[in-house]
């Protein structure tokens, strides 16, 4: 759409600007403030320069939780995106199946995150949970509260359960926007199922898929409540992702300086990845 240049449009944006600035800028400045200072309680602060940043960037604890975070995000993207596409492709396109699928598949998205964690906790308990009991009775030695591998398996399975539907809904919406003429043309050309997918469906889904990857990256990178309730970051620290580690440091140990420095580094990483994605998306849009 060709837009008119109109500086008065700023008046329309003011309420949003004020509300978000009020919420984002002030707290963010507090964090920046802490990150350069040492606190002795009672509002006494001393300038520390970049000491906390160096400390965090060089600390093994941060490297470890960052590594776990990237591993987790990478694995869930690798599972959720193809699985989501596959389910969207096989979903019914008309009839009673559509609302049934949509309603049931949206369910996990609307459950409060701590309930998701609690639900999976009782579902996976080795003695009284369905998953744990079944796995143990068919011969696996499964106990997610004690074995790191099992804890990872359960956390990933929980996230797949929780969020794959978002990818499904987005891909489904993308598929629905394809006109039947494209499929007819493909049929006349004798295109194989794979060719139809590769050259018709996938390009049409490019926009929503970029969005799905972006949303899933952001949200999995900030994941806190679900693994916190499910495993509490344990056993040991094996499932302590960035947010869990950060909250432990800020609210548990009250190490404000290092926690603030870690927050900023954390935020910066998310921002960097999202900026790349945003530019990719805008480029796609400009092309189409």
């Amino acid at each position: 759409m060709n837009k008119t240049i109109n500086q008065k449009a700023w008046y329309f944006v003011i309420p949003v600007f004020v509300l978000v600035a009020f919420n984002a800028a002030i707290p963010l400045m507090t964090v920046v403030n802490y990150s350069f200072q040492e606190t002795f309680g009672n509002n006494v602060f001393a300038w520390e320069g970049t000491r906390w940043f160096k400390q965090i960037l060089l600390s093994e604890r941060f490297h470890a939780s960052l590594g776990r975070q990237f591993a987790f995000t990478f694995i869930i993207l690798l599972i959720q995106i193809p699985l989501g596409i596959a389910i969207a492709l096989t979903m019914p396109k008309k009839g009673w199946g559509v609302p049934v699928c949509l309603i049931l598949m949206s369910m996990p998205l609307l459950i409060p995150w701590n309930v998701v964690g609690a639900m999976w906790n009782i579902f996976a308990l080795p003695d009284i949970g369905f998953l744990g009991y079944t796995l143990n009775s068919v011969g696996f030695d499964y106990n997610f509260t004690q074995q790191p591998g099992d804890a990872w398996f359960t956390t990933i399975l929980m996230d797949v359960w929780h969020w794959t539907s978002l990818v499904v809904l987005l891909s489904y919406a993308g598929l629905n926007s394809i006109q039947p003429a494209y499929y007819q043309a493909a049929e006349i050309d004798g295109a194989s199922r794979w060719a139809t997918f590769r050259y018709i469906e996938l390009p049409k889904m490019k926009k929503v898929l970029t969005l799905a990857i972006l949303l899933r990256f952001m949200d999995s990178f900030m994941i806190y409540t679900e693994p916190f309730v499910l495993t509490g970051g344990g056993p040991g620290n094996t499932t302590a992702f960035l947010s869990i580690d950060l909250v432990k440091m800020a609210l548990g140990q009250f190490d404000l300086g290092p926690a603030a420095a870690m927050s900023l580094i954390y935020f910066f990483i998310v921002l960097l990845v999202c900026w790349v994605f945003y530019n990719l998306m805008m480029k796609n849009e400009a092309q189409s």
């Binding site: 837009k3 329309f12 459950i111 409060p112 701590n114």
Partner: protein
């Protein structure tokens, strides 16, 4: 191969329903039964967990608190986002692209980063432990999302609609509320759905900003779990009840979901 296509979504739905079934199953058991026996359905069916929740005010007030701030947040987010999204979809202005990206970055900000400063900030303006504090803090991620979705819907409406209305002598206000808002009603519905959803499921900020008066149900659950040992039956019943508001909302917007996803950007 085509014949077995329905298997994939069916298996997926079964996978989705299993943990939910398990939660509901637990909610109708007594805590002693849960701990001592493994069974696929309740042996001694009981509704006492639900009775406890509906009669104990610390429990049911949790639901009322959660719904209150969620509704506040949805109304504030959509009301503020409507004019902003209109501006982004219709006009070019100084710094528009940067502003749009800056808004999006707030959707990306990890709540864990903001938890402590929020606590201090809302305490200092005397809003700590109020519904409005939680509603305002959730604006951090819901307003950018609302602007994003609404902008997508509004851009799909041709500009000729605006121009024709002005030629017909409509003032901006009358055009906006009488013509434009009804045209994008589906988009507003979808936006409200997402605002409701993200405010309803968020716990970290809601928990940090409340103590007793505005405590969300999710926080009541975690605190009960830690104070009185594991009352699993009660916890399961409370969890089951948190699914219901979401299910009601989905039922109302089911026809819009897929369409909304396609038209808007989310």
């Amino acid at each position: 191969m085509k014949k077995y296509k329905w298997l994939v979504p069916t298996l997926y739905i079964i996978f989705l329903m299993l943990p939910i079934y398990w939660l509901i199953n637990m909610s109708f058991k007594t805590t002693t039964e849960i701990i001592n026996t493994y069974s696929l359905w309740p042996q001694k069916f009981t509704t006492e967990n639900y009775v406890k929740i509906f009669t104990d005010s610390t429990w049911y007030m949790g639901y009322i608190n959660s719904i209150t701030y969620t509704v506040f947040n949805t109304v504030i987010s959509v009301a503020a986002a409507l004019p902003a999204a209109y501006a982004f979809s219709r006009y070019k202005f100084l710094g528009d692209k940067h502003l749009f990206f800056w808004l999006l970055t707030n959707r990306m900000a990890p709540p864990a980063v903001f938890a402590l400063p929020f606590f201090q900030f809302y305490s200092s303006v005397n809003l700590f432990d109020t519904h409005i504090a939680v509603a305002l803090s959730h604006c951090l991620f819901n307003i950018p999302l609302a602007v994003w979705i609404l902008e997508g819907f509004m851009s799909a409406v041709p500009k000729e609609l605006d121009e024709t209305a002005y030629v017909d002598g409509y003032s901006f206000g009358r055009f906006f509320f009488k013509i434009f808002v009804p045209t994008i009603a589906a988009g507003i519905g979808i936006t409200m759905f997402f605002c409701f959803m993200f405010s309803w499921v968020e716990l970290l900020l809601a928990k940090t900003l409340t103590a007793t008066a505005a405590k969300p149900i999710a926080a009541t659950m975690t605190r009960t779990a830690s104070t009185s040992g594991y009352e699993l039956g009660l916890l399961a019943a409370a969890g089951t009840l948190t699914i219901i508001p979401g299910a009601i909302v989905i039922y109302f917007v089911k026809n819009y979901i897929a369409k909304g996803f396609a038209m808007g950007r989310v």
